[in-house]
Amino acid sequence: MLTPRRLDAARGLGDRLFRLQLTATGITVLAVMAGVGLFLLLRAGQALRARGLSFLTTAAWQPDVHNFGIAAVLTGTVLIAFVAVVISVPLAVGTALFISDIAPRGLRRTLVTLVDLMAAVPSVVYGLWGLFFLQQHVIGLSRWLSEWLGWIPLFRVDGTQPGEPLASESVFTASTFVAGIVVALMVAPIQCSVMREVFSQAPAGEREGAYALGATRWGMIRSVVLPYGKGGIIGGTMLGLGRALGETIAVYLIISPVFAIQWHVLQTGSNSVSSLIALHYGDASDFGMSALMAAGLALFLLTLAVNFTASSVVARSRSGAQSEA
């Protein structure tokens, strides 16, 4: 007589070993991930102890005379990411809606592939494009923005007068704005693929219900797809923001670093935490390295906070709840 096999979690030696091994892997991965924060903190300790809270409020970066802080670079990082998100989100939402609802059916798969391919293009390639192509073409737009919107402090550019077309163009190059556009193009595909994923999960019954009540396609999108995909839009935006905050090479290639808080996004000169590290790691003394580690730690914590917020927003929204199942 055969008895049915017991269905408990670990049957026999093989399964127990298997479980043990998998759990060990999980712990290893967790250790690696935790190690990132831990070792940065360990190395940064020296610099953080030396500076205390003024690490957050100083704009200069002269670690060898103990005068350094991340006020300028953090502002630059956030501004670049802000410009990037402002430009990329409309593009990403539009493209995601286009792919999920408007594009001809035969084209959709190709477009999805293209978006994913865009996300895989190396950042150094985007940087090259921004440096050698975009920079010269964007000056006109920068000039226009600064002339017409110069009364907003964010868009003001010192060293140029409105209505002076022959003013030096160099005040508009290597700015936060140019870096922001390039980073926007890098993060838009990431945001777009998150959003499209969520949009395409909007329940077919509700879509058809909207159509049955006489909605147009845009009416359906506004009343069904967008409310359903709200979590995806927020989550995708934040995910892109996380990438934008951490982008190194494209930003490094484009901006000319300044160590002062630069609010004027169109003005030449900007900075970011990651390009600061890339710029100074080579010639840093022991203490300077510790200071760079502290800057890296700040960046790490910032992106971590953004990512956690993103994933909890997606998980809590209706769209996330469904994809979790």
Binding site: G14, L22, L91, A120, V121, L128, T248, V306, N307
Partner: protein
């Protein structure tokens, strides 16, 4: 939830208000067309485009002091939208007008994004055309080539070899660890694995330079090792690991539950279920996850920048001496003001992009198949395995074992329940 605020049916707008004893009914509502191309639609699009361009030419040339190609495009687009709205408004209701205009806006957003991609890729390939035709570009390193040398000297062989070495190291670490961790997240649910999943998801957007810093802090400063290809491989692994885990986790979740349940019902232990059912079913998706992670890892510059050092010479030894990867070589080439160096940079970038593109196409070809789909060779192998199983089972049909009796097929000795099933074959 209000689905639509107002549902004016076409034709109902200009119907007279019906009298109290409504005898005259408005025309029966036509179902709304959703999407699709109509002659009117195409004509109003063309008309609006033409008028947009004309009005803008007039504005720029005669009336207002505007200038610049970008301003021209933006103005033309806005005029086009306005005219298009008016044209559609001639014979459609407000909702349909909004729908038409938004459709055009969404088309524009998608076109902008994709033309951005085409521009980035096309520009790099175009500027790479100077360096790429030279055969020495692929076979030599930069050791003997100075910054002023023409493109017939020097190449990126050292960077290609470096990329290959680093990504191999990263894959050797990432693939077993990443896949096992994804299996762990799926197979052993619980509070701890949920925690691991949260951490991994938060780490997917880990700034790559932080991954480089971490390896720099532990391997180079902590353990006193040199900058080398190995360290760069570690840094790339730290960056790739969460990406691979997350993508594989998603794919493993798609494995149909009835397959694993069938395996469990047949009495397979968990590890056999995973090894013989879950992983083969998700094979194509897992391959895609790994390849996409590889594409990201190959293209990263900043972890390599911190951990690999820089050299112009070919270095095949990953454990000692600096090593250069393709993106790092691009980065160093374009920092030079020399046109030939910049041309080399673009050439290297084009090679890098081609590499990513090839990886991506492979991923799509493999990942295009759904879970459980098998190639011909896999199907043949499966058939061979089941023929072997049939033979094995027949050997097992020993007298006294009622395990393989087929209940649907009447056996000769059916009246006697304990009749031995003698080795009939079908």
């Amino acid at each position: 939830m209000t689905v639509v605020e107002e549902t004016p049916l076409s034709g109902a707008g200009h119907a007279p208000p019906p009298p109290a004893d409504a005898v005259v009914r408005p025309a029966p509502p036509r179902p709304r067309r959703i999407g699709g191309v109509t002659r009117t639609g195409v004509l109003s699009l063309c008309g609006a485009a033409a008028s947009g361009i004309c009005v803008t030419v007039l504005l720029f040339g005669q009336l207002a002091p505007f200038s610049g190609a970008l301003g021209f495009t933006v103005t033309a687009y806005l005029v086009f939208l306005a005219v298009y709205a008016v044209l559609t408004g001639l014979d459609e209701d407000a909702q349909a007008v909004r729908d038409k205009v938004m459709t055009v806006v969404l088309w524009t957003a998608a076109t902008l994004l994709f033309s951005g991609l085409v521009m980035v890729v096309g520009f790099t390939a175009w500027r790479g055309r100077e360096a790429l035709p030279h055969g020495n570009f692929f076979t030599q390193d930069m050791q003997a080539a100075g910054p002023l040398d023409p493109l017939t000297h020097g190449g990126i062989a050292h960077a290609m070899l470096g990329t290959l070495t680093m990504i191999t190291i990263a894959l050797v670490i990432t693939v077993p660890l990443g896949l096992a961790c994804a299996v762990y997240l799926n197979q052993i649910p619980g509070r701890f694995s949920r925690f691991v999943r949260t951490i991994v998801e938060a780490m997917t957007a880990l700034p790559s330079i932080v991954a480089g810093l971490m390896v720099y802090a532990t391997w180079i400063l902590g353990l006193g090792m040199q900058k080398s290809g190995l360290a760069a491989g570690f840094a790339i692994s730290v960056m790739m690991l969460p990406i691979v885990i997350r993508a594989s986790d998603v794919v493993l979740r798609l494995v149909p539950g009835n397959l694993t349940e069938a395996a469990e019902a047949l009495g397979a232990p968990r590890w056999r279920t995973v090894w013989h059912v879950v992983l083969p079913t998700a094979r194509s998706g897992l391959a895609t996850a790994v390849i996409l992670g590889t594409a990201r890892g190959i293209g990263e510059t900043s972890p390599v920048l911190l951990t690999a050092g820089f050299t112009a010479a070919l270095n095949a030894d990953a454990t000692s001496g600096p090593m250069v990867s393709l993106p790092l070589a691009v980065f160093n080439f374009v920092k030079s003001p020399e046109p030939t160096m910049i041309a080399r940079g673009f050439g290297a970038a084009a090679v890098l992009m081609a590499l990513v593109l090839v990886l991506f196409v492979i991923a799509r070809v493999i990942g295009g198949r759904g879970p459980g789909h098998r190639t011909k060779r896999q199907a043949r192998r499966g058939a061979r395995a089941s023929r072997a199983d049939v033979r094995r089972f027949e050997e097992l049909r020993a007298p006294g074992l009622s395990l393989f009796e087929n209940p649907g097929e009447p056996l000769p000795g059916k009246d006697a329940p304990t009749a031995p099933a003698t080795g009939e074959t079908d």
